[in-house]
Subunit: 498 residues, 2 copies
Amino acid sequence: MVHAYDALLAHQRATSLLGSTAALLAWDQETQMPRGAGDVRAQQLSQLAELQHERATDPRVAEWLSQCAADARVQQDADRAANVREWQRDHDRATRLPSALVAELAEVESKAQQAWAEARSRDAFAKFRPWLDRMVALQQQKADCLKRPDQSRWDALADLYEPGMNAADLRALFAPLRTALVALRDRLRGGTPPTDAFARQPIAEAQQESFVRAVLAAMGFDDKRGRLDRSAHPFCTKVGADVRLTTRFRPEAVLDALGSTMHEGGHGLYEQGFDDAHFGTPLGEAVSLGVHESQSRLWENHVGRSLAFWQWCLPIAQKQLGGWRDVDAMAVFRAVNVVRPSLIRVEADEATYDLHVMVRFEIEQQLIDGQLGTSNLPGEWNRLYREYLGIAVPDDKHGCLQDVHWSCGLFGYFPTYTLGNLYAAQFAAAADKALGGLPALLERGQFTTLREWLRRQIHRHGRRHSPAELCRLVTGAPLSSAPFLQHLEKKLAVVYGI
Amino acid sequence: MVHAYDALLAHQRATSLLGSTAALLAWDQETQMPRGAGDVRAQQLSQLAELQHERATDPRVAEWLSQCAADARVQQDADRAANVREWQRDHDRATRLPSALVAELAEVESKAQQAWAEARSRDAFAKFRPWLDRMVALQQQKADCLKRPDQSRWDALADLYEPGMNAADLRALFAPLRTALVALRDRLRGGTPPTDAFARQPIAEAQQESFVRAVLAAMGFDDKRGRLDRSAHPFCTKVGADVRLTTRFRPEAVLDALGSTMHEGGHGLYEQGFDDAHFGTPLGEAVSLGVHESQSRLWENHVGRSLAFWQWCLPIAQKQLGGWRDVDAMAVFRAVNVVRPSLIRVEADEATYDLHVMVRFEIEQQLIDGQLGTSNLPGEWNRLYREYLGIAVPDDKHGCLQDVHWSCGLFGYFPTYTLGNLYAAQFAAAADKALGGLPALLERGQFTTLREWLRRQIHRHGRRHSPAELCRLVTGAPLSSAPFLQHLEKKLAVVYGI
């Protein structure tokens, strides 16, 4: 007789393998697929999603899980017990959602996203509003299926992306952070803004590409198990054993190409950092979106926007880009840290980015928990942008229609971006302490020392610990905004001379 | 109640959709996948193959098929009747093979291919021989499951690739062809060999690429539903709604890049030429490998190696390649038609290619039907190369170890290459007659007129007719080697001045 754990393991690995094939379909769609193939691609993706859902809700999974729960040999083995705990969590979720709701969500997500794209291009919120209403209602139904008694609807959705996260804890974390960021924003007005004109000179794509590839290789990204391509919106995905990153190139935006590459490279190192022995199980998967984002932001901001990094990187940039001869590392360091409150989240600097996230958190929590109707969305959006970022929103295209997330049914997702920034700062401070000073490593280009530390401390654990436990284990403290604010204030004092 | 035909259609379309996802996995493996991802990719492919096989042998398929066979509404509808006939054929085959044999074949194919690659690189036939023995034995078992009373084992395997093909008919077709090709080979020795030195000057890859892309676009290949990439061995595959071609570039081999592109482009036009209404059904699939190859060879040889084509193409080549200023269309026409008996099939010219195929046909038929043991394979190979091609084989690497096919279990496949050449010549002659002379179209670059004729006459039919019926319908005659020999002799008389 096959042990229940082994049967469950084989079943779940096969399901995960199917998921990796779906990941290839999605990657190919964004990077390679000719535009006339979209309809069939949607069918291919939906077929694999259905097969995965069938497997995830297979009644045998529940049987195997209960046998494993009662089996001392499983429960006394830390790896197996952790996998069983996480499989149980995944199974509960999958089985709580009725198939009809899953199918309706899939259909409305696809249609609402098209409606959103059209509404955004025409700056016509009214065209999108009926879809948003329908989506909010469906997400409320979904939340009702998922939520525990102690959770609000929004909490139940957020828990999908960041296990253990809830609105009350986030408010406690975000309120002082917002006050400090708004104060910082005002204080910088009295400083000397850096110039970044040199970095906006047009540079040929081939040169930008060899530059960012050199940095990615130095980060220790393994190109035998990964690749870098182009797409309109940079992303990272894992296709079985290999990790695929994308970046984008515009002639006058080499710093954006570098930042995107280091950001996605950080995600990629996380995905390359799991233990092969745990392939296809929770111990070989990312613990949360917040922790995933911490890995991208750590490399993008704590490495790529540091003075020490540019002391190492400037000669490489000069060689690969064939320019930047008249600047020194300090000048590039200042240029990559310009703070300019702006309308668009994905173009925001490190000091104002989280204010964009907080606007979305306030609004989506109220939409899902019922305090705000969609008719009041643009007004509330614009009011919060004035309050948090100090800027006026000219139209919905540059306002509440800018992000794709809500049209895809992603409610409870936005705060993971800010959690990522906070985790990144707290992890970077811990690494700095553990490794005897990060700047000394970075200025010598010893990035793999940092990668190995991250791998040991974070990547290798997969979903063994909750995000909160992981944070305590790695940093000795619960998540706080203090390390992030210290990092920002220390850095911007130099950059702005305040 | 759902009509049996509709249920069957939905089932088969979903199976076909799964096959298109498997095609993406395979395409990606050859063109994009990092080399460290091979093991997981093999698992992904094998999982989808298993899912497809499960669906193909689903007992409901047999029920639906028998209901359709008894349903006048189906049998009186030409499209439905043709689909049901072909589904029945596919189902019979899939269910005749025991799962254990399918699994063993898959495993041995994978291992034998690795053994072959190593044996080839070391020129060590003895290392491959045990795998070949095992493979031949498995193929014999497979043939025993499949064969009808009137078929030999080899016939049963060949029928998988070319419905209706058998060894006796092939011998009748090939014997006079071989005599004529050997005589032609000897006659050319008395002619004036063309020079192709100008075409071997190194040309940068980017220029070669824009050249071959210009020709592919002129052929009418639709890049909204297709793309062209690079791979070590050029191929064409369909990934759902889009068709993916590859070619290869070497500095001194621009004619090879062009020939490969036009060859794969011909396959691609066939795959783009099915009726969308028949997507995922036999009426939207290629009828045989021979007919598929006819489409590639027609474009590669009857278009790309014609004087009229080069009258149109030379100015484009001169512009894109930035050279070839001292040659005229006649010189290029002569250069692309050099005949040089050689050791390697994939590098063979149009006049000796089929002699390579006939060597393989003789040998594999005897291996499978039991007249030849693998210990005598190298000797027999070398003897036939001397007899058919007039050349001595120096080692097995350049001899019986050169092709991957047998290691992958492809027995009965080689003759489809020659059938492709014969169909191509017969179809080209019919097109010439129907369109008022091909040269007049080609010299003006009016390739889409030819594409539309092929689409109407051949592509649109999918698997509606057998290959033999299709040949009669398109050309008014059964397949013969006469048009091919006439084409070759007429052309080479000009090229060699004989």
